[in-house]
Amino acid sequence: MIPSPIYTYPWAPTLERFLPAPYPVTGIRRETGDTVTLRLRPPEGRPPAFQPGQFNMLYLFGIGEVPISISGVHPRSGDLEHTVRAVGSVTRALARLRKGDVVGVRGPFGRGWPLEEAKGHDILILAGGIGLAPLRPALQHILAHRSEYEQVVLLYGARTPADLLYPAELERWRGRLDLQVLVTVDRGDEAWRGHIGVVTTLLPLAERLMDLRRAFILMCGPEVMMRVAARELEDRKVPPERIFLSLERNMKCAVGFCGHCQFGPVFICRDGPVFPLGRVRPLLEVREL
């Protein structure tokens, strides 16, 4: 029997949590046609401590504020990275930022991936589309502490080859002997020689690489993808306590006060965004929630 995770407030909701701090943009990398990774430098005296899977609220003065997962730490400067897809007014403006511009940052918020609990276990990371962004720091952490984990497999699905995030890093990960990377796209092109199909079609291959029943599953992507993947994993006898998913809702205050991200009895910003499947599965089946 796997003990249920204990939920506690990781921090007190002090005033500091509501005040954006100015973070200058120190770099911008275009990932795909509509997605960029922003490198943001924390002000002096504010080290960018965070748990993989947590998010920050990014504020563009006069435009608005959005929750964006922390997608990594720049290896040389230590700056925080946030991967942003331009889909709304704030994210479109974020994607147009230039080096030297300033972003207001609050955070980090929420509950991250269970990397401590997962020590000594196989890890399956299942990512779809922009869902790789919050999983990237988890994978970076695992690779930096590789001996503490057993088999590690990344399954990643994207729309097309041009929509794959972090292509250079993917290549480096593929080159490692201690990490299995399987990538699939929904629509291939003539140059694409890899898998074509939804990311869940890679599960049988992952099953050949590890005993899924004993693995920790970390997944993030469109909610439909996660719902289907969770069902397929449970069909393979993976305990729901070991399946973790990152959910997304309309987060505003980020500290569980405003209720915008309420999902049944939980607040995504405070109790999540990472949840064990056992805690949210009944909610995922409720339509219009």
Binding site: D34, R85, V87, G128, G129, I130, G157, A158, R159, D163, T184, D186, R187, G188, E190, W192, R193, G194, H195, I196, G197, V198, T200, T201, L202, P204, L205, R208, G221, P222, V224, M225, V228
Partner: protein, 159 residues
């Protein structure tokens, strides 16, 4: 290729691994283990569906040629999966192409011999067709999810 190697491949392959041993022996009599180089066609649209492929190693793409767009790759089939079910349904004609994307090894079952055997052995027929139905259902579900275009930008998603 020896019958022993084919039998071993049938014992290992997820489609047949828990099949009765006697049936595996029957299938091994009508099978060959074949390796296809990259870009080789396993089957071609419009031709007689004369084989059933159990993919052992490599990667196979299901494709269709579309005038003015060229050959479109729709899905891939990995080791442990199967290619082709048109052999089980009249008029026994392939509806798509299947091409090896990497060097691919498959157990290739003679479809005419398999159909003849299944017409004599209802239990074997029921076993194979129920497995095949699960494959078809899984492929259909995957296709429907692909059609949802989940990763598309909101304004380009199909309703």
């Amino acid at each position: 290729m020896s019958k022993a190697a084919i039998l071993e491949a049938l014992r290992q392959h997820p489609f047949t691994h828990d099949m009765e041993e006697a049936w595996k022996e029957v299938l091994a009599e009508m099978a060959r283990l074949q390796t296809y180089p990259p870009d080789a066609l396993l089957l071609r649209e419009g031709r007689a569906a004369d084989a059933f492929f159990l993919i052992v190693d490599g990667l196979v793409a299901i494709e269709m040629f579309v005038p003015e767009r060229g050959t479109l790759r729709l899905q891939t089939v990995s080791p442990g999966e199967v290619v082709g079910w048109s052999w089980a349904l009249p008029p026994y004609r392939w509806e798509f192409d299947a091409r090896a994307l990497a060097e691919t090894t498959a157990v290739v079952l003679d479809a005419a011999a398999l159909r003849a055997r299944m017409s004599q052995d209802c239990a074997l027929a029921a076993w194979i067709l129920s497995r095949l139905l699960a494959v078809v259902a899984g492929r259909l579900k995957a296709t429907r999810l692909q059609l949802l275009d989940l990763y598309a930008p909101p304004e380009r998603r199909t309703p």
